[in-house]
Every structure is written in C-alpha cells, then in structure tokens.
Assembly symmetry: C2
Homo-oligomer: 276 residues x 2
DNA sequence: CGCCGTCTTGACGAATCTCAAATAAAGTGG
DNA sequence: CCACTTTATTTGAGATTCGTCAAGACGGCG
C-alpha cells in the first residue's frame, strides 16, 4: 500500500528548489503521462460532485442525479498542487479542463517577445483551461498562488457526455460564454478606466467573488503581489502601491500588507462609475 | 406577391432620420417578432452552406453533406442590414448567433454609466452574438459599419443539432474558445502595449484577416472612424490620428483618409515585438 | 541575524489626454 | 448637381497621468 499522504517536504522530490525557470514537467504532464509516482493525486476522502459545495459554480450544475453520477465518474483525477506549481503551460497539449476545489491560481499570458500579463486570478469553484479548446493547446500558463486542489475534467469525455445529455453541452456553452463576457468586462476596464478606477474595480470584483463563495466581501487577503495586480490591470507595481496607499489615506480601504478591508464600498463604486 | 427588392430609399419606412438615439426596434427584433413586413429578409438567390465560400470560417465547417444540409435548413433567416442599423442591443433576449455573409459591423460594450468601448470589428465569415449565451441576453450592441447580410442561426436549434452530431457541438466549442483566445490577445494588447504598438497590432490584425478572406493584406479601407479605432484600442481619437500621421511620415504606411497601405510590414511587426 | 523578495515613497520624465481651432470629407435637401 | 450642414480628421499647446529610476523599509525564512 502506498502511503496516502506524503510529508510536505517530500512532495516534489524531482523539483530542485532553484529550478523555477526551468521548463519543468507540469503537474498536468505528470498526470497525463503517469511517468512518475503520482504524489499529487488526491486519494483521501474522495469528494463527489453530488456533495461538492461548489457544485452550483461548476459544470455538473443542474444535472439529474444519474447524470451527475456519470459526470462524477468522468473526472480523471483530483490533483494537488503546491504554491507556485504550474498546472499547464503555453503550448502544452490540451486534454482537460480543471475545476478548482480549493486554493487559487493565476493564469498568465506569454508572448514570444518578453511581454506577459496576468490574465486572471481564479479561486475555488472556477474552471480553468478553456484557453486550450480553440486550437487544442494551451495558450497561457496556470500557476498556483497557494496550495490547491483541482479536479481534472477530461474534455473528450465531457464532449461524449454532452452527446447523451443536452444539459452538459449547455453548461459547457454557458461556461465558455461567461468567460467571454468576463473578458469583455476586463477589456472595458483596460480600455476605458484610469488607474484608480481599475484598482477599485479589481477590489470590488474580488469582493463579489468572495461573497459568492460565502466569505467576507469586505475583508480578505490578496493572494497576489502588487506586481501581479499591476500586470492584470495594465499598471506598474509602483502605481498599484501608490494607489493602495492613497485609498488608505482617503479612508476608502484599510491596507496592511496583503490584507485588505473595504471601508467605503459605495464610494469605490462611485469612483468607478463617475471617475470621482 | 411582394416585390423581392425594395428601392433603397424605402427600406426603412418606419425609421425617421432623426431617430438615431431612440430605442428603436433592432433588425433582430423585427425578425423575431415578425411584427412588421420583413423588408430585410433576403429572398433572392438563396445561398446555402454547402456552396458558401465562407464555409471554412463558419460553424458548419467539416460537417458531412447530410448534416450540412440539416444545418442549412436550421438557418432562420438571412437578414439584410443597412449601414448603422443595429442587429442587437444590450439586454435584448438572446436567441440566435449571426454569421456575417457580407459587409462588416462593430460590437460595442456599454456600461450603465457613460463608458462604452468598441469590443470588436467583424467582417464576412465572422460569427457574432456569442455574448448572449452566458445569461441569455446580449450584453453588447452590434451595429453595421456598412450594408451587410447575415445568417441568423437560432441557438436552440444549434444545440438540438449538436445532440445528434458531435461535430456541431465541437465546432461550437471551438468557436467560443477561439473567441476567448482572441479576447485574451486584446487584453494583452491593452495591458502591455504602448499606443503605437497597439495601432500597429490593429493594422496587422486587419491585414491578416483580409488575407484570410482573399483580399489584399497590404491595402485596405478602414470601415471605422478614428474614434472607433481609438475606442477599440483604449486611446483617444487624436492619438490615433497623430500616430497614423507619424507612421505615414516614417514611411511605414500610406494613409489617405480611411484607405491604408502597409509599406513596411516587417518594421510594424518589429515595432510590436521590440517596442522599436 | 542577515538575506531576499516584496513593498513604499520620492523625483523626474515621457506618453497620452484635454481643449481648441482649422480643414477635409460625407451626407442632406432642394 | 449644388449649397449647406454635419461629421470626421488633423494639428498644436498645455495639463495630467502614469512609468522609470532609485533608495530605503518591511517581513519571512533559513
């Protein structure tokens, strides 16, 4: 019998600490190829779609019990990632979507020349990997911001299941279309807002999403650095830092490191809408 | 028998010239409700998917002849729009995707407060309306930039057809996913590029798309105003104008009104990649 | 305790916006 | 088709926002 749990220290024996830039195998690689001991598979109290508290945010939402069961069986693996592990990288063959069960990650776009940009921050209940569907290969990189657990949803099997159960296909369409809408909103933000408005919008969006997951909508801990926020918002980290300080001074928020407390949400909203 | 073609001047009898801001019925409205004579339906030489030269860009791509036939029959109406007609608006119930057969249009995002942004320019072969799938209502506005002809693809029937023919569902997924990738590229542009790089990227993107449709990739006519370009790129129209002038002075392009000729494509590419 | 990554803050400069005015082009009604 | 109106475009000057560079503070970790 394999031990069910490996001590934290030994989780990634093949990954030297200094190797962050190396084109190392991604977790998903390891999963696909089964070329190494699957230390990351989650074997413990196997979760099920039917009892998952994130269900209503996820793909099997609204399925009849029988179909839900089938969906559950479809799930390839539950994977566990440690902070800064990479789930997939650009160019990697696309084979599955990933539902985040816990933890959070960022997705980063990389272009041939040096430019890169954080294209999203994702938390429990989000489904990522959709960037791979279009051409069969991922075009961005998903990196854990903290330890996390994801369900791998093999895409081919989702499409099979969609054949027999219209609802699955519909949910898939919804998922993709919602992603499109989300990105449009980001485009609108990047194209039409000043720096302070963008930051306010970012904070309020986070707040909304925490609320939707049952967490406090006014007090939370950022999982990202100032640099990553800036990248996402099209700003430099200094600008982000300055703006956070200013909002703090103005009594809009309380900032202490990465802990944020929203003090005047209405004013933040107004700032976005009216530009002050 | 109704006349097959109505003289240009009489196409929109119910639309007074001054009513541009009025919440007028959209073309799609008229189509859905059949509440007025369907002057815009295209009845003439009925086109078919099987013979459509835009097929390879469209949803029925790669279908077997029989299925292609079914897809063809699924098409609700071919609609004709005149310049500045609106195909759908924000809030309108989503019922169909639209494949552009000829002409071009822009999609505009509108937020409650005054902000708006051109979110895309679409030409023959593009499919628009995907913004409506997520919540069942459109969240942007599609407006014709010139006279155009579109095929309405009732979404419910696409989903039905996808049940029996996996390929249809797959094409649908591809379509949506590609839209996601496209928008990510735009986000990357808005978030990481300087004004001149954005404009260069815009021109080269247009060039690519014209090429893909068999038109000249080096000489074309913009269908949009400087203001609309600026809106799309997150810039002011003056900035766009100045940059076009500068690129002209620098011998990169030739500008005459909305006619653009690309003189030094490699340099434009380099400008994007290296920032000069 | 000292290192390293992260964050803050200031001073300065460049990119872009705003406002304004002149010109060019397109659309309209006779 | 013309005269007229409206809309689109160009260009300049000055203001603003944001980025760059640089120095120091903070905080976690070995």
């Amino acid at each position: 019998m394999m031990p069910r749990r490996v001590p934290l220290k030994n989780r990634m024996p093949a990954q030297p600490a200094a190797g962050r830039r190396r084109p190392a195998e991604t977790i998903a690689d390891a999963h696909q190829g089964a070329r190494r001991t699957r230390l990351h598979d989650v074997k413990d109290p196997q979760p099920h779609c039917a009892t998952c508290h994130l269900q209503r945010l996820c793909l099997p939402f609204g399925l009849e019990p029988g179909v839900m069961q089938m969906f559950d069986e479809l799930i390839g693996k539950r994977l566990r990632l440690k902070k800064s592990d990479t789930l997939y990288r650009p160019g990697e063959r696309f084979s599955a979507l990933y539902a985040i069960r816990s933890g959070s990650c960022k997705t980063v776009l990389l272009s041939e020349d040096g430019r890169d940009q954080v294209s999203g921050c994702h938390m429990a209940g989000d489904i990522i990997g959709t960037d791979g569907i279009g051409v069969g290969a991922h075009d961005c990189q998903a990196t854990a911001l903290e330890d996390m657990e994801v369900c791998a949803l093999p895409f081919a099997r989702i499409e099979e299941l969609a054949q027999d159960h219209a609802r699955v296909g519909q949910n898939m369409h919804r998922l993709l279309a919602r992603e499109i809408s989300r990105e449009r909103r980001v485009m609108l933000m990047l194209g039409t807002m000043r720096a302070d408005q963008r930051l306010a919008a970012f904070l309020l969006d986070l707040a909304d999403r925490y609320r939707a997951r049952g967490y406090s909508a006014t007090e939370f801990v950022l999982r990202v650095t100032r640099d990553e926020i800036g990248s996402y918002l099209g700003l430099k980290l200094e600008t982000v830092s300055r703006l956070l300080s200013r909002m703090h001074r103005d009594g809009l928020i309380l900032v202490q490191g990465r802990t944020i407390k929203l003090l005047d949400t209405p004013q933040l909203k107004r700032m976005i809408d009216t530009g002050q």
